[in-house]
C-alpha cells in the first residue's frame, strides 16, 4: 500500500470546494442582510446599493418625478428613464441597466450578481495562477493556486463589500478578464476588455500604458529602452491595440450618450475631474480642500504664486499621473510582469488621489494573490507590511471617529494621520517592489 502524501498542500481542499464554501458564505450574508435591514435602523446594506437600485427604477419608470432619457437618440416611440435623476448616481448607466432585475425579480438581485462576480474573480485568479505564475514555483500548483485564490474569496473586505451591495466586484471582473487575456497573449481581446473596463471606471486606462510597453518590448531584440523601443511603442501593433481599446471605450460612451445625453457625460466622467471632497477621508488633501473651499464669489487670486502653487490640484495630480503611468512603462517590460505592473500602477493611483476611501484598496489588493508567489520577502517583512498597512488606517479611523461622532476638534490631528497614511503606504509599496522577482517566462 502506498503511503499517503504529506505536506500542507495535500490538506488544502479542492478549488471546487473553495468555490462552494465561498458561494454559501455569500448567500448566507445576503439573506442575513435582508433580515438585518428589516429589523434595524442601521443598515447592513451600503448606501450605494440603494443609489444603484433607485437609478434602475428611474430607468424602468420614466416620467416618475419627471425623469426621462435626454440623449439625442433617445427613442421617441417609447420613453426610457434617466438613471441620473437619482442624486449621487455617478456611474455608467450600464450598471443601472444590469440591476433592472432588482425591480422585477428581487431587490437583492444586484447583491447576488456582485457575489457571483466575486466567485468569477476567484476563478480567474486561479486560472491565471496555474499556467502563468505558478509553473515557476514549487508543485503542486493547484493547491497553491487554491490557497492564493482563497485569500481573495475568503477575504472579509471582499465578501462584505459585495454582499453589502457595492459594485466593485464587477470592475474587478473586467480588470481580471483584461489581465487574463493579456497573459494568454490575446491582444485584441485584451484591448476590448480594457476599453470596457475604462468605460466602467476611468482609472483602468492606466493599464493601457503597461500593455503597450509590453507589446513594444516583445519586439525589441537589444537591451533596454532605446530608439528601437520607442519605434515599437508607436508601431503598428501598439497602435492597433490603442485604437481598438480607445474605440471600444468611445463606442460604449457614444451609445450611452446617445441615450442619456450630457447627464451621462457629466455624472460618469466630468464630475470626477473637478470634484472637491472636503469631508474627511484618508487623503490628507481633504483638509486643504476644506480650508480653501471657495466661499461664493471668492477666489485665491490675491495669494502669492507660491501659495497658489501649493494649493493647486497639480501638486497631487502630477505625482499621481507620473507614477501611475510611468510605473506602467518602467515595470510592464514583459507580459508576465503585468500583474506586478498593474498592482504598482493602481497602488500609486490610489495613494496620490485627492480622495481615498477603503473601497479603493480593493482595486489593488485584487492583484496580491497573483503577486505573492513572486515576492521574495521574509515573514518579518510581510508582517511589518501588514502591520503598517493596517495600522496607519486604524490610526486614522480612530481620529475620524472622534471628529464625526464625538465632535472633537481633531481636524489637524486627522490631517497628520493622513500624512502618516501616505508615508506608511508608500513605504509598504517600496518594500513590495523591492521583493518582486521576475518570472522565468516571457
Amino acid at each position: 500500500m502506498q503511503p499517503k502524501p504529506s505536506g500542507w498542500q495535500y490538506r488544502i481542499p479542492s478549488f471546487r470546494t473553495l468555490l462552494v464554501i465561498s458561494a454559501i458564505l455569500r448567500v448566507v450574508l445576503i439573506l442575513y442582510s435582508e433580515w438585518h435591514d428589516a429589523h434595524s435602523i442601521v443598515k447592513y446594506t451600503d448606501i450605494d446599493y440603494r443609489v444603484f437600485s433607485d437609478a434602475a427604477r428611474f430607468i424602468l419608470y420614466p416620467n416618475l418625478q419627471g425623469n426621462i432619457a435626454k440623449g439625442p437618440l433617445a427613442p421617441p416611440s417609447f420613453a426610457v428613464g434617466d438613471p441620473y435623476t437619482r442624486e449621487t448616481y455617478r456611474y455608467t448607466p450600464l450598471l443601472a441597466v444590469l440591476l433592472l432585475p432588482n425591480e422585477w425579480l428581487h431587490p437583492s438581485f444586484g447583491k447576488y450578481l456582485f457575489a457571483a462576480c466575486d466567485l468569477i474573480n476567484g476563478a480567474l485568479i486561479y486560472k491565471i495562477l496555474i499556467p502563468h505564475i505558478l509553473p515557476d514555483t514549487k508543485p503542486p500548483p493547484d493547491a497553491h493556486a487554491t490557497l492564493l485564490a482563497a485569500t481573495h474569496l475568503l477575504n472579509p473586505l471582499v465578501f462584505t463589500i459585495s454582499t453589502r451591495g457595492s459594485s466593485e466586484a464587477i470592475l474587478c471582473t473586467l480588470v481580471l478578464l483584461t489581465l487574463f487575456y493579456a497573459l494568454e497573449g490575446r491582444q485584441n481581446a485584451t484591448a476590448v476588455m480594457l476599453g470596457i473596463s475604462a468605460h466602467w471606471k476611468i482609472y483602468p486606462i492606466i493599464y493601457g500604458v503597461s500593455c503597450v510597453s509590453a507589446i513594444a518590448l516583445q519586439q525589441v531584440n537589444r537591451k533596454g529602452w532605446g530608439v528601437e523601443y520607442l519605434r515599437y511603442l508607436l508601431g503598428r501593433r501598439a497602435l492597433r491595440f490603442a485604437l481598438l481599446s480607445a474605440g471600444t471605450f468611445i463606442i460604449l460612451g457614444a451609445a450611452c450618450y446617445a441615450m442619456w445625453g450630457y447627464s451621462f457625460l457629466y455624472e460618469a466622467y466630468l464630475y470626477h475631474t473637478d470634484r472637491r471632497d472636503h469631508r474627511h477621508n484618508f487623503s490628507p488633501y481633504f483638509y486643504l480642500i476644506y480650508l480653501t473651499y471657495p466661499i461664493s464669489g471668492g477666489t485665491s487670486a490675491d495669494l502669492s504664486i507660491w501659495r497658489q502653487l501649493l494649493r493647486s490640484p497639480f501638486t497631487s495630480l502630477i505625482p499621481q499621473l507620473a507614477l501611475s503611468l510611468g510605473t506602467g512603462l518602467a515595470l510592464g517590460q514583459r507580459t508576465i510582469d503585468l500583474p506586478f505592473a498593474w498592482f504598482v500602477q493602481t497602488y500609486t493611483f490610489v495613494l496620490f488621489n485627492r480622495v481615498c476611501t477603503s473601497q479603493y484598496f480593493i482595486w489593488y489588493t485584487l492583484f496580491i494573490p497573483l503577486l505573492a508567489p513572486r515576492l521574495n520577502l521574509s515573514w518579518k517583512k510581510w508582517m511589518m507590511c501588514g502591520a503598517i498597512w493596517i495600522g496607519t488606517q486604524a490610526l486614522w479611523l480612530a481620529e475620524a471617529y472622534k471628529l464625526e461622532f464625538l465632535g472633537d476638534d481633531v481636524f489637524f490631528g486627522l490631517w497628520v494621520r493622513g500624512l502618516v497614511y501616505i508615508a506608511g503606504h508608500a513605504w509598504v509599496l517600496g518594500v513590495i517592489m523591492s521583493g518582486y522577482t521576475p518570472g522565468l517566462r516571457l
Binding site: T88, R279, L323, Q333, L351, G407, F411, G430
Partner: protein
C-alpha cells in the same frame, strides 16, 4: 440640550391632550432647519417617515458652498396614544473655517412646530399655522390648523468643530512636502526595480 458631532437625532415629544377632538385631522411636525443642517431623504424613507422636504438637497457641499436658505421638513406623524415620539436624523455640513484656538460653531435649531391639519369642518381653527413656511403638497387636504403647545424637542443646538485657518500654511506645506517625498521614494524604488527586471529579462533572452 446641546449635541456634539456631525450626526444626531432630533427627537420631538408631543403630548396629545384631547386628541379625540381632532379625530378627523392629521398630525404634522414642521422643522425649520438652518442651512448648516442636512437631511437625507432616502434615510428618512428608511425610517418609515412620511415627509416632504423643501430646501437645498445637495448633501455634498460644506457651508461655504451653500447660501443662507433654510430648509423645511414637514413630517406626518401617526397620532397613536397620548404621547407621540418622532425622531428625525440630522447631519451637519462642515462649517466655514474659523481662527484662534479650537474654533467651533454652534448651530441653533428652531423648536419644531407641531400642529393638527384639519378639514374645512373645523371652522373655529386658524386658517394658517406659520407665516414663513413654504407650501407643502401634504397640506392640500387641510384648510384649518391648530398648533399644539405641549411639545418638547431635543437637542436644540448643535456644537461642531470647524477647520482652523491658522493651520493653512502648515497644511499647504506639509501636504506638498510629504506627497513629494513619497513620490521621490517610489520613483527611486521603481527605477531600481526596473533595472533589475531589465537585467533578469535580458539573461532569459
Amino acid at each position: 440640550m446641546q449635541a456634539k458631532g456631525f450626526h444626531t437625532n432630533l427627537s420631538t415629544r408631543i403630548s396629545l391632550h384631547a386628541r379625540h377632538e381632532y379625530s378627523a385631522c392629521d398630525l404634522f411636525i414642521l422643522y425649520e432647519l438652518p442651512p448648516d443642517v442636512i437631511i437625507d431623504s432616502f434615510e428618512l424613507n428608511n425610517h418609515g417617515l412620511q415627509f416632504e422636504f423643501v430646501g437645498n438637497a445637495n448633501l455634498e457641499l460644506p457651508m461655504a458652498g451653500v447660501g443662507n436658505e433654510a430648509g423645511w421638513v414637514l413630517v406626518a406623524a401617526k397620532p397613536e396614544g397620548e404621547v407621540v415620539l418622532v425622531d428625525v436624523p440630522l447631519h451637519m455640513r462642515y462649517g466655514v473655517p474659523g481662527e484662534g484656538h479650537n474654533p467651533r460653531h454652534i448651530i441653533q435649531l428652531h423648536p419644531p412646530t407641531c400642529f393638527w391639519g384639519c378639514p374645512s369642518s373645523y371652522k373655529s381653527l386658524d386658517s394658517t399655522f406659520s407665516s414663513r413656511s413654504p407650501e407643502f403638497a401634504m397640506l392640500n387636504a387641510s384648510t384649518h390648523f391648530k398648533i399644539i403647545e405641549h411639545t418638547t424637542s431635543s437637542p436644540l443646538s448643535l456644537n461642531i468643530p470647524v477647520g482652523n485657518m491658522n493651520h493653512i500654511l502648515y497644511i499647504e506645506l506639509g501636504t506638498v512636502v510629504v506627497t513629494l517625498f513619497a513620490f521621490v521614494y517610489i520613483t527611486l524604488r521603481c527605477w531600481a526595480v526596473s533595472k533589475t527586471l531589465c537585467s533578469a529579462h535580458l539573461k532569459m533572452q
